[in-house]
Amino acid sequence: MVRIIAILVGAAFTFVLALALWGTVSTAITDPAPETAEHEFHLHPRDAGLSSAGFFGKYDRRQVQRGFQVFKEVCAACHSLKYVSFRDLEEIGYSEAEVKAIANQWVIETPSVNPDTGEAATRKNVASDRFPSPFANEVAARAANNNALPPDLSLIAKARHDGANYVFSLVGKDGYRPQPAELLKKFPETKTPDGLHYNPYFANLNIAMPPPLTTDGQVTYTDGTVATHDQMAKDVAAFLTWTAEPKLEARHAAGFASVVFILIFCFLAWGAYQNVWRDVKH
């Protein structure tokens, strides 16, 4: 009885799937899905070649500091970094005094309350503060950015596929470019609308963010590195990789120790196994 019911249920599911299959195949023939511009013109990110990639990857502290400078002078005008605190900068090689100075001199102040009147006010940042948002709230951010919301950058390197390379490619020298004539010929309706910018590394090809890096030497590095367009893009990608994954170095180190430890365990377990079973055929 169970088997008869099973065969009937199986036949029913298969019949409905056959109907569905018929529908899929006939639609695919009579009304094939059109090619999309995103499908054809979206590019996979270029490799930024960051030192943090790979099993034994470590951050290049000077590069991360340069990236922080790019963030401070370019990105921070619109983007928040709300999960990172000023004190965290000590991890990328700034001294306690330097961190205090960076917090104190940060252009955007932290919201607070006037101690005398109780009215809303702002105060200078201290090391334990998170990076303050450049906009008071989402409405203000949209109002200032053509109704687009600049995303928080703390986790951007993990919130996109191949995030570090994505950031590098998006703002690097070949990210923003004129829309290819080929694309316009093939998909005339996908002309980049006013206020948006063509960028093949962006998921739907048209990004609201205006090109943040435009010329070589836009940022003057204090360590003497030549600030080419790609160098700045690479550095800010390194910085945002660090903000997304600040414990990466500790993780890699612990991982190395763990793997060695477990390998020794495997070796001992294998020996014990051979020893215990030596007289038993199995």
Partner: protein
């Protein structure tokens, strides 16, 4: 029950004797996973995966309890509390990555454990109850994993919850009311997040309870083995300890090695980038996909695209739940008295196709829904149901199995070059 030749627990220490009289917990352990449990001598490494699943549950419970000390189940702060675990809690990044990847490892070893059971006929008499309890554990795990994925309150958490609870709205007439009742609102929000957290904390302990029943039910007939032949005598078995504790330790080592590689070197490999974006009810992600371990079932759900009496969505939901619930009937769908597929050449072929089929479903579940993938998914879904519901009952009543060995010991000795019954009798 145990075999009559099972070793008896005989405490020599006065303290252990005293304890054995008052509360014989050491005796229980001795008989369950110690020298008092005789196990077939010919188990291969596929028999490690039960112990590995137990280890994975233990790791999940320990890391989960500590994570719960730092996590806040509130839509406004949940995402931030997870970030503070990653950044400010001592070794918080380790706990969270271990817990997230631990879920993947748990499901991975359980899938291999289930495949082992399918291949070697471990679901057949007299072990039907072991199998039934196993399916219950699997369902509990799926519920727990789903609710756990919602807790970080990222985009995939939120939209996954939206999609999965949306299944209930496919039920005619009362579906929408049930969905709202389950969520505690019209869309996932604080009420849903809080109850998911509560249940996510509860269900692992329920799972642990059912695992105890699973092992209890297993110990009545004893473990199956790669030949599927019953244990005939003492020479067919070895005590669980030290023989299989030693062998399980090797498997555990390899398990931990893979687990550690994931946690420390590629912790986000199996996750989705969108879950690092805070939940936003106003912005739907381009592709909503579940975690990898649900992809085959998701593919089945998506394959039903035609209305036939019932709406397509309801067919999809019925098929998706049916694809798991049919496992409950497996012991009665397969009438072959031969357990191990090694001796069932025809069925073995179909089973290997099924394994490939499930992998294909997994691929389709995560892939772009273009015509080619939808067609692949529909064909693969059809084979899934045909395999269990039609092929299995028919093949098991028609095929001619290969000759079985007379005993486990004979099979072992044949493998090592000796075949005579005399040798079998002498072997110990």
């Amino acid at each position: 029950m145990s075999f009559p030749w099972a070793k008896q627990y005989e405490p020599k220490q006065p303290l252990m004797r005293w304890l054995d009289e008052k509360l014989p917990v050491p005796r229980l352990v001795y008989n369950a996973v110690g020298a008092g449990y005789p196990v077939p001598r010919n188990l291969n490494y596929f028999w490690n995966f039960g112990v590995l699943a137990g280890a994975a549950l233990g790791i999940q419970i320990i890391t989960g309890i500590v994570l719960a000390m730092h996590y806040a189940a509130n839509g406004g702060v949940a995402f931030g509390s997870v970030e503070s675990i990653m950044r400010d809690v001592n070794a918080g990044w380790f706990l969270r990555y271990a817990h997230a990847n631990g879920a993947s490892m748990f499901l991975l070893v359980v899938y291999i454990h289930i495949a082992r059971g399918l291949y070697y006929g471990s679901y057949k008499a007299p072990r039907e109850m072991v199998w039934l309890l196993g399916v219950v554990i699997f369902l509990l795990m799926m519920a727990t994993a789903f609710m756990g994925y919602v807790l970080p309150w990222g985009q995939m958490s939120f939209w996954g919850a939206q999609v999965i609870t949306g299944f209930f709205s496919a039920i005619p007439l009362v579906g929408e009311s049930i969905r709202i009742w389950l969520l505690g609102g019209y869309a996932p929000d604080n009420a849903a997040l809080n109850r998911f957290f509560s249940l996510h904390y509860l269900l692992p302990f329920v799972t642990a309870g059912v695992i105890i029943l699973h092992i209890w039910a297993l110990h009545i007939p004893g473990s199956n083995n790669p030949t599927g032949v019953d244990v005939k005598g003492k020479q067919d078995t070895v005590p669980f300890h030290p023989y299989y504790t030693a062998k399980d330790a090797v498997g555990l080592g390899v398990f931990l090695l893979i687990f550690a590689t994931l946690i420390f070197f590629s912790p986000n490999l199996l996750g989705h980038p969108d879950n690092y974006i805070e939940a936003n009810p106003l912005s739907t992600p381009a592709h909503i996909v579940p975690e990898w371990y649900f992809l085959p079932f998701y593919a089945i759900l998506k394959s039903f695209t035609a209305d036939f009496i019932l709406p397509a969505k309801l067919w999809g939901v019925l098929a998706m739940f049916g694809s798991i619930l049919l496992l409950f009937f497996l012991p009665w769908l397969d009438t072959s008295p031969v357990r191990s597929s090694n001796y069932r050449p025809k069925y073995r072929g179909f089973l290997i196709v099924l394994l490939v089929d499930v992998l294909l479903l997994g691929y389709v579940g995560g892939a772009e829904a273009n015509a080619r993938n939808v067609i692949l998914g529909q064909l693969a879904s059809a084979y899934y149901f045909l395999h269990f519901l039609v092929i299995l009952p028919l093949v098991s009543s028609s095929e001619r199995p290969r000759a079985l060995p007379n005993s486990i010991t004979e099979a072992v000795l044949t493998k090592h070059g000796g075949t005579s019954p005399a040798q079998t009798a002498l072997a110990n």
